[in-house]
């Protein structure tokens, strides 16, 4: 393994575990679980290594693995990492590992589950590493299918409905994306492949960003080219974020998905939307981005406020957390639409902090579901008395999610608001008001579930087990540490973002 192949190793290691798992006899459940965990641990360790050798002062692409893949279609195999993607890669390997440990409770069709799980991890990592647009699309689709089966087979009572909804929604988005990719390809300038062969058009994303200006491309279906392509791409990515009104697949998918899949969904999958918007929309179509920014901010603001109110009315703990994700991902859009240093840094950092906080929340929702076999908030009461440690953990996660200063969620939230304020004053103030509602729905949930007289039905619930601690504590520790000392994560993004910003400020 050399530095140039490091990314390929990270992306494809999970695949190596699949034949091993499928070859094991299905009775050896514990062995299957351990093999899966080890397979997930390797990318995690490689990710740490990647973090160590990554040079944050370099704003270009690092550790590229680049060769011609399908010569006749000018498609290359091109993986690389920069300040934007490294955070997402680190998040993916971490959350995947934690979700894998959390999957130890799965009993049904173990081999199939873990095979799909590992395939999913490869798809996600590939999406964040790919710099060839076609390759990007391939990974995007690779990730979609295992997710469909993981929800549809291992999910809750309405799993088929939720899985189909998720699948169709994402497929619709990726179809728009495919059309946009093809349109961009045919309007791109002549370029060369990595081995020097001249080609008339290119899928190379870096070349699309640096060597092409689509502002003057011929109109498409009577619309300005860059605008219609921008919107197609934006919808494709925004469905993943998700934004209001394309968000209703999320609560259904979350409620039906098994806990570890919810963790992946909230921790990583939602980030693909934000990542795609920054990498593709912002990078390739800066003029259209400027044109669309106010709308993007508005969508972000509406998502924040609207979803917060919907949260307040939820009765199912997991659904509440799912809607809070919609609200909190709205911050990402509001932040990046401002084009200020603080706003974009805040938006990207929000993806990271949400990627730590919401998996913790879903793990915690899973803990209580495993014990009580329901998630009705009103159905509990006084649990703090029986489960003090669990109460403490959920308290921490709630506080982080509502942006308590000193925890990492605060930094990203305050940066988003700070950055958005000069550009969208009124919208920012209204969005900031939603943090009151956020506090209200979390505290009300705590009160109904954990305070008051203990519900006699649950007087024998056990507190956290060691496996649960093993998944929760690392997340909790990171949430606290990054709240006080965010530099290790933030220093990775800032230089790269200055680079993105320069495209807008000339």
């Amino acid at each position: 393994m050399t530095e140039s192949t490091l990314l390929s190793w990270i992306v494809f290691t999970p695949l190596l575990g699949i034949p091993v798992i499928l070859a094991l006899p299905k009775e050896k459940k514990q062995l299957i679980r351990y093999v899966a965990a080890i397979t997930c641990a390797i990318p995690l360790l490689l990710g740490v290594y990647l973090y160590l050798i990554f040079d944050p002062s370099n704003t270009g692409i690092q550790l590229a693995h680049h060769f011609v893949w399908i010569r006749s279609f000018h498609i290359e195999y091109y993986l690389g990492v920069d300040g934007l993607s490294i955070l997402m890669i680190l998040l993916t390997v971490l959350i995947s590992f934690i979700a894998c440990i959390a999957s130890f409770g799965i009993e049904k069709y173990l081999r199939g589950y873990f095979a799909l799980f590992l395939l999913l991890e490869t798809g996600m990592l590939g999406t964040f590493c790919a710099l060839d647009f076609f390759l990007f699309y391939v990974f995007w689709e690779v990730m979609l299918l295992p997710m469909y089966f993981l929800i549809g087979i291992w999910g809750g009572p309405r799993k088929e409905y939720a899985a189909i909804k998720f699948f169709l929604y994402t497929l619709f988005g990726s179809l728009l994306m495919l059309l946009a990719i093809i349109a961009l390809y045919f309007n791109s300038n002549p370029a060369t492949l990595v081995d020097g062969t001249p080609v008339p058009h290119t899928f190379n994303m870096i070349k699309l960003i640096t060597e092409n200006d689509f502002a003057n491309a011929p109109a498409l279906l009577g619309f300005a080219f860059s605008k219609i392509v921008f919107i197609a791409l934006f919808i494709g990515f925004a469905i993943k974020v998700p934004i209001v009104p394309f968000h209703t697949w999320l609560p259904d998918a979350h409620v039906e998905a098994p806990t570890p899949i919810s963790v992946i969904l909230a921790g990583v999958l939602l980030k693909m939307g934000g990542y795609g918007i920054l990498r593709v929309n912002f990078g390739i179509l800066p003029e259209a981005t400027v044109w669309f920014a106010p709308a993007m901010a508005l969508i972000g603001g509406v998502s924040i406020v609207y979803a917060a109110f919907v949260c307040l009315a939820q009765k199912d703990l997991k659904k509440l957390i799912a809607y809070s994700s919609v609200s909190h991902m709205g911050f990402v859009l509001l932040g990046i639409a401002s084009f200020t240093e603080q706003g974009i840094t805040g938006g990207v950092f929000q993806m990271w902090t949400h990627g730590l906080i919401s998996p913790m929340l879903f793990l915690l929702a899973g803990v209580i579901y495993d014990r009580a076999h329901h998630r009705e908030i009103e159905g509990f009461g006084g649990l703090a008395y029986r489960m003090p440690e669990y109460t403490g953990a959920i308290g921490l996660a709630f506080m982080a999610s509502l942006g308590l200063p000193g925890l990492c969620g605060f930094i990203s939230e305050v940066l988003v608001f700070l950055g958005a304020f000069p550009v969208f004053r009124t919208l920012t103030i209204i969005s900031a008001m939603a943090v009151i509602i956020t506090a209200a729905y979390y505290l009300w949930t705590i009160q109904r579930m954990f305070l008051g007289k203990l519900n006699e039905k649950y007087k024998d619930l056990p507190d956290l087990t060691w496996r649960e601690r093993f998944t929760l504590y690392p997340l909790g520790a990171l949430i606290v540490l990054l709240g006080i000392y965010p530099a290790p994560a933030m220093s990775l993004i800032t230089d790269k973002l200055m680079n993105i910003l320069q495209m807008f400020h000339g």
Binding site: V310, Q342, A432, V435, I436, A440, G452, I484, P486, T494
Partner: protein
């Protein structure tokens, strides 16, 4: 650039209590089980007391410095760093934060000691002390933070601890609810605070015009207090939302203060906060957290002084709250409720002080109030503790140990509690030479003589003085109802009444003495005595000195007003004595019958809680339900409808498949079969048949040839 000394260990002041909170938070259960309560409170008391001694050490160092250089900085690292924008994690120890930190650590440590007796035998002893230490951390961060965002950590942190401690006995759902109310109300304020930060910071670096925001001076984008003060000149003429930036920002900050420091209109959480254990009420809801808003205004004196509108708002809200809360306090029967409204009212006086530009006087009252109100709360705690114990022994579980109507005559059983309570009463009522007299009188005088607010000074003074009569009245009412006359809680209960343990009485005595003598730090100029506090704080308020203006009044005016203050205190006291001493007078009961409406309105706090429930809370919940409905039936409805439509289309396709496409395919198959069968009939194998066929065919061909081609 002024010289700022560095001090490497200031960070220990807030961090030590945090460490204590962590130790008890993670290992408290085991500590308590294995080593008993001693191990828990040893850690919990050690940490804040260490903080106190470190603060004291730095305080002494500060005193040794030349006046202009009295500030120390402890820079740990850059908390947030984006390009040129940095938010340092740094603690700033200037003369203002120094006195605050000293008061917080002193009173905090005393209350920790008191709590060992008060919380004795509570199953969650460790949790209590962990939260208390956490509070100390948050409060000290609030006080010592050198920038807005660090202050905000403390600002929200004290709100969180307040929530945790109010809801400490969470199995009682009412207490849990009170905690939630405190947190959410504080959040409403925090929202304003943070918006103020945004507006202020961006206005320092640029400005808004019709075409949007332009950044002029990126180097001035800062949230550090010192730097904000340095660049504050660039706010001249800057506007936002049609008002000056200074006004907007100050009003936002003050909105935050009305929640944190329980002023109109966000005071509603504080009376409910009395659900928490009494030491919590003393520490958080009297001496420290609730004074954070006053501290903040004093800290930003250079900004508030720029806006007459903001100063007026602060002073007027302060004065009105002082009076309003005092009226509610008049007829409360729960001893802690009286003290709660008294706190709201006294905080109003502090805001009146900082609002009219007498920043040091506001801080002065903050400090003296910390002593006498902590003493009063702890005294009430001592009483409640004794009542609770006695009721318990007498197997009376129905009567409320906090209701003053069940008390009376406690002075005989609890002499220390009685005398310290009386000392604090005298101080808060403003009897001459007591601490509260000096501080309250200074505020009233400054309110009278100020030329900054848009409202004439004498009006502010008059509101404040009226409130002072009521203060003296309700405080002595509570004293007489509790300690004088005969016990009204039953003979069996009375047999079990006795004075509280040492940990309680010693702390009460210390605070009682401080309540009496605390005023010496700010003696009036009128008496030609040195005013240490004003002098000490002068460097902090240097920036606003030029902006704050005072009217010209003679000494005789000031003497007259001081005399009025004394009369006011004595009047209130005499009324209370006449009506409530020894519980002999019939007048209160008769008045109650005579004016039931007034009593009802006051007793129910003007129904403000009900009003908020009916508007803000019901509105939010309603909006939540509407949003949820909209999400379920409209947005998701459209999604599902699209799904159904797609399925309908495919069903149509299905139909056509069955009848059209399949029909065609099957039809073809049937047809060829039929033709085959028909044709098979012809293949008889007989030559004649074939010949007929050939002939027939030939005929047909000839016919066609003639018919078609001729």
């Amino acid at each position: 650039m002024e010289h700022i000394g560095t001090a490497d260990w200031i960070w220990l002041i807030p961090v030590l209590p945090l460490l204590g909170a962590a130790i008890n938070g993670f290992f408290g259960t085991r500590l308590q089980r294995r080593f008993g309560e001693k191990a828990v409170h040893a850690v919990a008391i050690l940490m804040p007391s260490l903080s106190f001694f470190i603060t004291l050490g730095y305080f002494i160092r500060l005193m040794g410095l030349p006046e202009a250089e009295r500030q120390l900085l402890c820079h740990l690292f850059d908390w947030i760093h984006i390009d040129t924008f940095t938010v340092p994690l740094a603690f700033w120890f200037d003369t203002l934060s120094a006195v605050m930190a000293l008061m917080v650590t002193l009173v905090g440590t005393l209350i920790h000691i008191y709590s060992t007796a008060y919380m004795h035998k509570d199953t969650s002893y460790w949790r209590f002390f962990s939260f208390m230490n956490l509070f100390m951390f948050a409060m000290l961060t609030l006080v010592l933070g050198d920038n807005f965002l660090l202050m905000f950590i403390g600002w929200e942190g004290v709100g969180l601890c307040s929530y945790l401690l109010i809801a400490f006995w969470y199995q009682d759902i009412d207490k849990a609810q009170a905690g939630m109310k405190a947190f959410i109300t504080n959040r409403i304020g925090d929202f304003g605070f943070i918006v103020g930060i945004f507006a202020l910071m961006w206005a320092l670096g640029g400005g808004w015009s019709d075409s949007g925001f332009t950044l002029v001076n990126p180097g001035q984008l800062t949230v550090v207090f010192r730097e904000v003060q340095q660049y504050v000149g660039s706010l001249e003429g800057a506007t936002i939302f049609g008002m000056s930036v200074a006004t907007f920002a100050c009003l936002c900050f003050f909105w935050g203060a009305t929640a944190k420091s329980a002023q109109i209109p966000l005071y509603v959480w504080l009376p409910d906060a009395m659900a928490g254990p009494t030491p919590v009420s003393a520490l958080i809801h009297a001496a420290t957290m609730v004074t954070a808003g006053v501290y903040m205004v004093a800290r930003l004196n250079f900004l508030f002084a720029m806006s007459a509108t903001a100063m007026t708002a602060v002073a007027l809200v302060g004065a009105l709250t002082a009076l309003f809360a005092a009226t509610i306090g008049l007829f409360q029967n729960d001893i802690k409720k009286v003290l709660a409204y008294s706190t709201v009212s006294q905080l109003g006086y502090m805001f009146l002080g900082v609002g009219v530009g007498a920043y040091w006087a506001g801080i002065f009252h903050l400090l003296t109030h910390a002593f006498f109100k902590a003493c009063l709360f702890l005294g009430s705690g001592s009483v409640i503790h004794a009542m609770h114990h006695a009721y318990h022994k007498a197997h009376n579980h129905d009567d409320d140990p906090q209701d003053m109507r069940n008390m009376g005559g406690l002075g005989r059983h609890m002499p220390t509690t009685r005398w310290t309570y009386l000392a604090a009463c005298v101080a808060i009522a403003g009897f001459p030479f007591m601490s509260g007299f000096f501080s309250k009188d200074e505020i009233l005088w400054k309110a009278f003589s100020n030329a900054n607010t848009l409202v004439p000074g004498w009006i502010l003074w008059a509101i404040g003085a009226t409130g002072a009569v009521l203060t003296a009245f309700y405080m002595f009412r509570s004293y007489y109802m509790t300690f004088s006359g005969t016990f009204r809680g039953g003979a069996e209960t009375e047999r079990h009444l006795h004075e509280s343990p040492k940990a309680i009485t010693v702390v009460l005595s210390i605070l009682g003495v401080l309540s009496i003598v605390g005023g010496v730090m700010g003696l009036p100029h009128l008496w030609h005595l040195p005013n240490w506090l004003e002098h000490w704080l002068a460097p902090v308020f240097h920036g606003s000195q030029a902006l704050v203006k005072w009217g010209e009044f003679t000494h005789s005016t000031e003497w007259t007003l001081m005399l009025v203050s004394v009369l006011v205190a004595v009047t209130g006291f005499l009324f209370a004595r006449m009506l409530y001493r020894d519980n002999r007078s019939e007048i209160p009961a008769r008045m109650l019958k005579r004016f039931p409406a007034i009593h009802r309105v006051l007793y129910h706090k003007y129904y403000v809680d009900e009003l908020y429930d009916a508007t803000a809370i019901a509105g939010s919940v309603g909006l939540a339900k509407v949003s949820d409905w909209f999400d379920k039936y409209i947005i998701d409805g459209i999604v599902n409808l699209t799904g159904y439509f797609a399925r309908f289309i495919s069903w149509l396709h299905g139909l056509s498949d069955i009848y059209l496409v399949d029909g065609l395919v099957n039809g073809l198959a049937h047809a060829s079969g039929a033709i085959g069968r028909w044709l098979r009939g012809w293949q008889t194998g007989r030559i004649q048949t074939y010949l007929y066929g050939v002939l027939g065919g030939g005929l047909v061909l000839i016919l066609i040839r003639f018919i078609l081609f001729d």
